[in-house]
Each structure stands twice: as structure tokens, then as C-alpha cells.
Symmetry: C2
Subunit: 246 residues, 2 copies
């Protein structure tokens, strides 16, 4: 295993940072690494908003599901799917790209582009011994966050990424068994036996992590969050801003 793969395998989400901010050079290097990722049809249909203003950062932490560590250190990046620039350019050329950018596939394109960039930024950060945490909670507060960051139509925040110097690190969390995730030539619908063993493994992980007996398993956690977080406002938000209208 080479050092790069070692970095990937060593990943944990960090939710406690020291107060040390990232330097301007670090931010530049991280964003350049993000930009080096692939992009669908090379559209580069994403943008990154760095939140550095302390009051705005605190507001983000509150709006993104109430996660104070976001405001506590390092740097907070908001990744957006973005076809705003493409629309500007097309209009200047008297071309109408609305049928494409207002369709649901364009939302996938922008989300994929933003995520490829974010994961490159993550790998770069971890190779520099920084810690990161993805903040899907940005979509809990998406309506107010979009306003607070002056985000126009055709741009949509898809998640945040908190990056900073780790104050503490959890142990690496076990993943689903290889054969439950990787299928060969045809999709295998019969993986529940594999999940049973994995649930035992994760029960042990959670009980160690919390330092107390726990009955929580991966299945409990995953299904629990699917019941709690329907984000039923999302469709209206997206269509109102020019996304996924058809």
C-alpha cells in the first residue's frame, strides 16, 4: 500500500478542531487540488465558497443542523452545483441552454462535479495532516444559507466541508463488507446476511467509541437518519431556483 492509499484508508471525520485557521497558501493549494479533479464534459459546473467571516461562520454552524464545531477552527467550505456562469455565457451568445440546465440531469452533473472537487480537497487536506468533516446539514438550512451567501439562481449548495487542525480523532469506522458494496456483472439483491455480521461489528465500534455498552448498529443508525431527515422542502427550493424542473 503506497502512502497515498494509506492516507485514503486512514480517513475519519473530524468534529473537533483547534482554533488555528488555515493560511491563505493552504487554502489556495487545497482549492487547486480540488480543481484538478475530473468534471462532466469538462463543464466545471461547481463553485466553492469559503466562509471566513466569524459571524457568518457562526450562522452557518447554526443553520447547518446546529453543529458548533464548524465555527470553531480551520476553514469552512461550501460546495455548490453551479450552472450560473454557463447561463451567462450562453445568453451572451444568444443560445438557450435552459432545457438542459433546468433538467434533473444537470443537477446530477453539478452535484457530481462539486463532489469530485470536494473529495480531492479532502484527500489533499488529509495528506497535510489536516482533518475534515463533510456537512450534509448544509441542506437542512439550505434556504437561509443560500440567502446568507448571496447565492443566485442556478447555484445550489450541496454540502459543506469543515477543514482544520484536529483536536481529536475517532478510530476508523468499519465499512460494509466488500461483497455487499461491490457486485460483478449484475446487481446482487441478496446482501442482508452480510449486513447482519456487519451490524455486530458496528455495534462493537459504537460501544467502544462512546465508552459505554451500546445497542446501536449500522442498520439502526442508517434507518434512523432516513426517518428523521426527509428534507421535504428540497424539491420546491430547487425548482424555485431553476434546478430539476423536469
Amino acid at each position: 500500500m503506497n502512502p497515498t492509499i494509506g492516507t485514503l484508508m486512514n480517513h475519519v471525520s473530524v468534529r473537533a478542531f483547534t482554533e488555528q485557521p488555515l493560511s491563505e497558501e493552504q487554502v489556495k493549494l487545497l482549492v487547486r487540488a480540488a480543481q484538478a479533479a475530473s468534471s462532466a464534459s469538462f463543464q466545471q459546473a461547481y463553485s466553492i465558497i469559503g466562509v471566513t467571516d466569524p459571524a457568518l461562520k457562526t450562522q452557518m454552524a447554526e443553520l447547518a443542523g446546529g453543529q458548533p464545531f464548524i465555527a470553531e477552527g480551520g476553514h469552512f467550505f461550501v460546495f455548490c452545483a453551479d450552472t450560473y456562469r454557463h447561463k451567462q455565457i450562453a445568453e451572451a451568445k444568444n443560445l438557450d441552454i435552459s432545457p438542459t440546465i433546468e433538467g434533473i440531469d444537470a443537477l446530477l452533473v453539478g452535484t457530481i462535479d462539486a463532489t469530485l472537487a470536494a473529495q480531492n480537497l479532502t484527500v489533499a487536506a488529509e495528506s497535510m495532516d489536516l482533518g475534515v468533516c463533510y456537512i450534509g446539514g448544509v441542506r437542512d438550512g439550505i434556504i437561509d444559507i443560500a440567502d446568507a451567501l448571496h447565492i443566485p439562481n442556478h447555484v445550489v449548495p450541496v454540502f459543506g466541508l469543515a477543514v482544520g487542525y484536529p483536536a481529536e480523532r475517532n478510530e476508523i469506522k468499519p465499512r460494509l463488507p466488500f461483497d455487499a458494496v461491490y457486485h460483478e456483472n449484475r446487481y446482487n439483491t441478496d446482501t442482508l446476511e452480510l449486513v447482519k455480521g456487519y451490524d455486530e461489528e458496528t455495534r462493537l465500534y459504537y460501544s467502544k467509541r462512546n465508552g459505554q455498552p451500546s445497542t446501536r448498529t449500522w442498520s439502526d443508525t442508517a434507518i434512523g437518519s432516513l426517518i428523521r431527515l426527509p428534507r421535504s422542502f428540497m424539491k420546491e427550493f430547487l425548482t424555485g431556483r431553476g434546478w430539476a424542473k423536469h
Copy 2:
């Protein structure tokens, strides 16, 4: 710049592979690296289908926008957003997660999870001197590809990834200027001047790459693909398979 960041910066899409396939150990290592990525609420809402059967691989190459190099060497991975397993588990617990997994936010969750995993796989592959190419064209042929891979409802292919030994490599393609992609504290709607300089830079890149004078710029390419590829069947396909219904 450390070697991991060097690997990220050195990325180009490879569209010509030697015939050498990946070994089983390589595939295992790559998928494990993919699994090490973050996952929204740790739902691991994705799956990976490796296409190794030669006839099936040729079919994929045809369906994914007619790109023969997909079938020519290495390994072809199809990344899927996947809540199939979650639905099975919830049903066994007599819980109904349909309001969440049938909403558009769940499509984002699964797409993000699949993409985080794919980019880890990409970085791992490139650190092993393999080359990759993302195949968004999987969504051009999504209806037939889903059938060919026996993909059930609540699973949707979001893109493919061809991985193999490079037969040739392009030069690194210049990206949009840093200030056009990275915004601080508020979204900057005024980046078209930056794009003008970038268009000159990409005109030069494309003319060198094709070894002939070219008038093609980034703007031309990006807008051109947005006009050509509306994928207007996507909404019906997704809703028919239990995604993005509301």
C-alpha cells in the same frame, strides 16, 4: 507539495488503455479505498458494479455514448446511488422510509456517496500509475444499462469509471482561474472577464492537443455539450424507479 497532492495535480482523463486487465487484488484494493471515503449520515448509499464479462463490457461501451475504449482494457466500474438495501432493512423492521428515499434529497445523498467513493478509487488508481476516465455517458444509455446489469428499483447508475494501464496520456488541461471558482463569504456573480482570459488559454491547449489550429475554447465546449445533452428522459426514468418523486 507532497506526493499525494502531486498525484492529484497530475490528473488527466485517459481514453486509451493497453489490454492488460486489473488483477483481483488491484480491484479489491481500489474498492476498499473507495469505501474509505465519507458517506452522508454514514448511510453508504451507493454500490459499485464491476463489468468484467467481455460481451457485457462491449455492450456498456456502446450504450455509454459509443466509447469503444471502455471495452478495450483494464476494468469498467459502474457507480450507483443505492437505497435498495436501506429499504429492505426498513421493511424488515416494519418501518417506512419511502417519504425520504423517494424525495429528491435522497438522490443527492446517493449521488454524493457514489461520487466520494469514485474519487477515492480514482486517486488510489492514479497513485498506482493506472489511468482513469469518468463516463457520464452511462446516463445516455441509462435505461438499457440498468436492465443489462439487472439493477432493481432504488438503485440508479450515476456514472462509470474506466480504469486501466494508460496507452497514452494527454497533457494536463488548464482549469478555470482560481478566483472564478473560489468565492469568499459571498457568491461573486461577476467572473466573465476571468473566463475571457481562460478561453484564450484553452484555445491554445486544444490547438496543441489536436496538433492543428483550433478555434475551440472552454466556453464553446461547455456550452456545446449543454446544448447537445439535455438527457430529457432522466426525470421519467428516475421517478419510475422510485427516485426524485417529490
